[in-house]
Symmetry: C2
Subunit: 326 residues, 2 copies
């Protein structure tokens, strides 16, 4: 029996989930839901309908789980609890500071409805979190370091695009090689924000714009850039399209801990991703499978990647996993 | 409330578990059990008794879980089912081909007794297995590569020690850098045994022994060395003690998969361990905690690392994990 998937929102992430569903024989895309006019949206899977969220709101769509692909700032805090009252749901909520509140809201709605709601799923939060937890549990005396990149940060790219005179921007986050090296050597260094990552911006400016002002506005932008060493390159729209059309990303969680006086161990989990949204979509697809299985076993309420045993993620039966993957 | 741990067997691994227990405030070592004369065994934890396995066999020792530190060839296949009928148990059974049978035997005994038995726990099988599973579940279209080393293989060191004229040996398994490089680049190469790892032996020979014969016997030994490029160095007992007293190990699971036509992702999990037995002991300690918790929730039977949600491994409460580790 296949697991019936609905996708809410058809931006980069929604398309990433759609691609992931195609790679999994036991998953079936039933519909894409949009807040826009459904007739204006063309998706990449033939024969699958695009529907209005108004249909979803009636609560009787034929789906086993809804993958909610919205933004963490305003979409998900409202959408995930709302739809957890109607369907099993999963999201990639990534505002770390607000996770406890979001968890509570989804938990209340999902429990009342007898559904499962997985929040904060992807790679960070998600696979990186799982690795921080495994390492801390195995070696409680130690330190976790998370490095992001080299990769495109969409939030930072958007922030630069809002500057007057900027037509387009792609911002790359880059770990500082010397910092990576020290952590990998098990030195457990104290590192400032500036010592861990640098930022590089490729900017298409309006003709005649004051480039010096733009560069200065970027480099001094609080929260986003002022705590980093930032490089700004002005390029043409053609160069942007030719050299920066992808959304690669990645990074490493490096954990350095001891098991006795003087005995050190370094654990590293790293990702090199051609496409951030497609990989995140692939993680969401695997955990969507887990959510449906757990709900069928009678589990309800909010969960995170911490609460789900690895075997639930795979379409491969348990005895085959033990025989061939253990 | 602390979790009361018993350790059965006091070789390298038993001492590794003992060290791990000291790093975890919620774990308490209650006793070490030995098949030898208990009065002859001195352990590294003051005030903790050494007892005979005869005591254990009575079935009423005051422990929450027994960590069984025996060999996979003959000890564990008998011991783990036997003690799963009396206590929660955990082992590091690592004969991959026999895992299904071992699982069945432990499952039957543990279920009948209302206990939990975790088998095949450590880093391979163990953390490496978990990473193979996560990656395969997220990107079902891909390939997993496992590299071991650089590190000491105790099985191979023992095999060389059995050669006539050899007093001592330390065998290092070393991944071939070019193979690692190709896999990390996402080339998905087909690699033979010889192309993946080399082996390096440091040997102390008896005075006057025929070194050429020893070297030849090592290099042509079936299963252990004949499929590898092996280097043999003859050293003195002093050099052995000075340069090769540790048991470092490590390795990498590298998974290379696609999420759509032409879109590649590389996931790497790697370990650099100062002490193989202490790290394995640390993994066993974390999963021992999980076993006791799961049993308290009413779970029984055999389990592996695949069946256990990460949150069970950590002493940190669930809400704190969500707030600080997600």
């Amino acid at each position: 029996m296949t697991i019936k998937i609905g996708i809410l929102g058809y931006g980069n992430l929604g398309r990433g989930v759609e691609a992931a569903v195609k790679m999994n024989g036991d998953l079936e895309l039933k519909a894409v839901y949009t807040r826009r006019d459904p007739s204006q949206l063309k998706i990449n899977t033939e024969g699958v309908p695009v529907k209005s969220t108004a249909e979803l709101d009636k609560g009787n769509e034929d789906i086993d789980i809804l993958v909610i692909c919205g933004g963490s700032a305003t979409d998900l805090p409202a959408m995930t609890p709302k739809y957890a009252a109607l369907y099993n749901v999963i999201d990639s909520f990534d505002t770390h500071a607000n996770i406890p509140v979001h968890f509570e809201n989804v938990d209340k709605a999902a429990k009342a409805a007898g559904k499962v709601g997985i929040i904060s799923c992807g790679w960070d939060p998600g696979m990186f979190s799982v690795n921080r937890l495994y390492s801390t549990a195995i070696l409680p005396c130690g330190e976790a370091y998370t490095f992001w990149g080299k990769g495109v940060s969409q939030g930072h790219s958007d922030a630069v695009r809002r500057i007057d005179g900027v037509l387009d921007c792609r911002q790359y986050t880059i770990p500082v090689p010397a910092a990576l090296e020290r952590v990998r050597n098990g030195e457990n260094p104290e590192l400032t924000t500036r010592e861990k990552h640098t930022r590089e911006c490729f900017v298409v400016a309006e003709e005649g714009a004051d480039l010096e002002r733009i560069e200065n506005e970027i480099k001094t932008m609080p929260n986003y850039f002022s705590d980093y060493d930032t490089t700004v390159h002005f390029i043409t729209a053609e160069e942007m399209a030719r050299d920066h059309s992808g959304l690669p990303h990645g990074g490493s969680v490096i954990y350095s801990g001891t098991s006795s006086e003087g005995t050190k161990h370094v654990i590293e989990y790293s990702l090199k991703l051609d496409s951030n949204p497609e990989f995140t979509g692939s993680v969401l697809a695997a955990y969507a499978r887990a959510a449906v299985r757990l709900n069928k076993e009678g589990k309800t309420g909010a969960m995170t990647v911490f609460d789900i045993a690895p075997a639930y993620l795979s379409a491969i039966p348990a005895d085959e996993l033990r025989a061939h993957y253990l």
